[in-house]
């Protein structure tokens, strides 16, 4: 009954999956083309009452951000210069080469998989990281067909662990706990952890090269003290997987022309 439990990366099961997804992808896109405007319209109607309040809140937020941007501007230039000096910055070319895609489908009731409308024909390949419109890490491409691909969210237990860096430089590992939840584990904690701290990807580390550096992963949900030198704490993901409509697939590991620079990064 469990046809292909151990052969999910290849063989008959993968061929079957790829074929069915190729056949269903245009149908799913067609259904989406009909349904999405209706859903958006009904969403708009249901949110009409709150729009004025939301508008005012956003205006206040814009003013606040403009003030912050003015203060942060000169700091950014300094940081940019330092990053260049340290050769730690992810090549901007990688982001320029990222493939934007639309989320066209989800898996079954208990399957968090997302399906996107870009595949190997667009440069999307298995293992590449996927980010949302804000640049927050969403997941990894788990399988790629010619015209579509499956994305496994980082919140899934099936997703590979993400090595992350805390603001104080500590390194930890974030693992998916299922629907919308992440957990941070720090094995050699140097001190207590504050809630609200931003976790970003550590980048290439040891044998792991799954994610580029400095992608937003999540925010530590609560303060935690080390227990026997280790910390395990819940993390709120940065990306809202429930409401995702568009994503970008980052061409990582980079193509050879960009890999030279990354070799320096890893050193």
């Amino acid at each position: 009954m469990t046809l292909d439990i151990r052969a999910s990366r290849g063989g008959f099961g993968a061929d079957l999956r790829s074929t069915v997804q190729v056949v269903m992808a245009p149908l799913q896109a067609a259904v989406n083309a009909v349904v999405t405007p209706v859903v958006s319209f009904s969403d708009g109607l249901s949110n009409l009452a709150g729009l004025r309040e939301e508008n005012q809140r956003l205006r206040d937020r814009i003013e606040s951000l403009e003030r912050e941007a003015a203060q942060v501007g000169h700091l950014e230039s300094q940081v940019s210069e330092l990053e260049t000096l340290l050769a730690l910055r992810l090549g901007e070319d990688l982001y320029q080469l990222s493939v934007s895609a639309e989320v066209t489908a989800r898996g079954g009731t208990l399957d968090p998989t997302l399906t996107i409308d870009r595949g190997t024909g667009d440069g999307v390949h298995t293992g590449q990281p996927v980010v949302d419109g804000q640049g927050a890490l969403i997941g990894l491409v788990s399988e790629a067909g010619e015209a579509g691909a499956s994305v496994i969210p980082i919140t899934s237990r099936r997703a590979p662990a993400v090595t992350v860096r805390l603001p104080d430089g500590q390194r930890g590992v974030v693992t998916g706990q299922g629907a919308g939840a992440l957990e941070l584990s720090i094995l050699e904690a140097s001190g207590p952890l504050e809630g609200g701290e931003l976790l970003v990807t550590f980048g290439p580390y040891g044998d792991s090269n799954a994610y580029p550096k400095d992608l937003d992963v999540g925010i530590v949900a609560e303060a935690a003290d080390p227990q026997f030198g280790t910390i395990g704490v819940r993390v709120e993901p940065m990306g809202d997987i429930e409401r995702l409509e568009y994503v970008a697939v980052i061409p990582w590991p980079p193509a050879p022309q960009f890999r030279d620079g990354d070799a320096d990064e890893g050193a």
Partner: protein, 173 residues
């Protein structure tokens, strides 16, 4: 006639899979959506012979498996269990719509729990998901709401294709 019923059920399951993966990826009230594939499998299993019903359940689950990235056969096995329970309890659907709707809810719950158990056994950690209780509560409720419309519609559709179910059962008796 049985072949025609099975073909009709299969087409409905495929349409339901399309709706499940595309429409209900954007419509998720309270973070869950109805499992329309399972609902159609249950409806089909009411009308089919036991062997065909179980095969329909397996194929419906397998279709969902191949459209996602879960190990192949997990939903297939769970839906097979769901269709088997439907076959064993199909008489409940003769007691009127309210009983039928509640039966759909019960079968949905058992199938989802089976899926979660098997998924956990195969390392998916489904039962450890923080949202699993919400999913196990909401999906059967949504399916029951949908069943209010789908059961009478299916009754008409299958009756039109294969004659009334009650007569068929009487003949068998």
């Amino acid at each position: 006639m049985e072949g025609l019923r099975f073909l009709l059920s299969l087409l409905l399951v495929m349409a339901a899979a399309l709706v499940q993966t595309s429409v209900f990826h954007s419509i998720r009230p309270l973070g869950a959506s109805p499992d329309v594939v399972l609902l159609v499998v249950v409806v089909g299993a009411i009308w089919l012979k036991p062997e065909a019903a179980v095969l329909l359940g397996f194929l419906g689950g397998l279709l969902l498996d191949v459209l996602g990235s879960a190990p192949l056969g997990l939903s297939g096995l769970a839906f097979t269990v769901g269709s088997y329970i439907t076959v064993r309890s199909r008489d409940r659907f003769d007691y009127g719509l309210p009983v039928g709707v509640m039966t759909v809810g019960g079968i949905t719950l058992v199938t989802l729990v089976t899926n979660a158990l098997i998924g956990t056994l195969f390392g998916e950690g489904t039962l450890g998901n923080p949202d699993i209780i919400r999913t196990l509560l909401l999906v059967p409720i949504y399916n029951m709401v949908f069943a209010l419309g789908v059961l009478p519609l299916a009754d008409r559709l299958f009756s039109w294709v294969a004659g009334p179910r009650r007569n068929r059962m009487r003949r068998r008796i």
